[in-house]
Subunit: 141 residues, 2 copies
Amino acid sequence: MLLSTKGRYGLKASLELAFFYGKGPLNLKSISEKYSIPESYLEQLLSKLKKSGYIDTIRGKQGGYLLAKEPKDITVGMILRALEGDITSSDCLKNDNCGAENTCVTRLVFEDIEKSINNIIDNTTLEDMIHKRNQIYKEAH
Amino acid sequence: MLLSTKGRYGLKASLELAFFYGKGPLNLKSISEKYSIPESYLEQLLSKLKKSGYIDTIRGKQGGYLLAKEPKDITVGMILRALEGDITSSDCLKNDNCGAENTCVTRLVFEDIEKSINNIIDNTTLEDMIHKRNQIYKEAH
DNA sequence: TCTAATCTTGACAAAATTAGTAGGGTATTA
DNA sequence: TAATACCCTACTAATTTTGTCAAGATTAGA
């Protein structure tokens, strides 16, 4: 599995914030309920996204979370990496030497996979996803 | 992480068998030592690959493991799936409904990722990898 | 035939990671 | 000033990964 619930939950929440971009903050509970994500777990994820600079928060009554940048300036890759660390296909790519000798060709396949994953997540913004969503919604009506 | 050691170990071992294709069986110990894979762990992996029909075994003295098909007829995807199950980017693709409503756009990104991964692993055979390895070896000399 | 080499099988255990809980603290604002 | 909502840290439960172990079956060769 490439992504754990961390990345999935976090991406869903970010997308929800993107839908509401410019319309004031969304509180934790509303997001956690809408997507059935445990409140305190989601809190931890959003906290990470805040530290990474992708979302802002407003404390106190009427407070909540909001996107720190425009949806077009936040990529799926940014969100996923903030939550899951580098998205890698195989551990052997993390370590400089994967223990094997110079005939480690398997590494090449893993590199190919990784490149194609990164290519997708780095070239998809939250705005792109909103567009897609609107398109689907349109087709259905 | 997309792949655990299962997939990596298994692919390395399969590749080793591919190098030896047509030259008789390789025993467990030789593979496990060459790639520093725990013997009984590798055993389990090879057993799965056997059940999936990708390798054959010869029991008894002078026995060992060998590829059941030509390297050109075995893809990286076959090996990985036999060991890790379907290679999926996100659990939400496994379940028919990911719990979310019709606005689940995140799913679309995951699908894109998955397609590109499958595209790579299904179009790379063990023979391809041997060629690459030979090419690298050549360049180095 | 005996023996050592080799695969076979299934149960078990350790380690790591993921997923989530719990609870007190702090800032804000109606 | 009290309710709301984010902030932070520690802890726990569940799951998956990564092995270990032991008894057995099969075969080649002395």
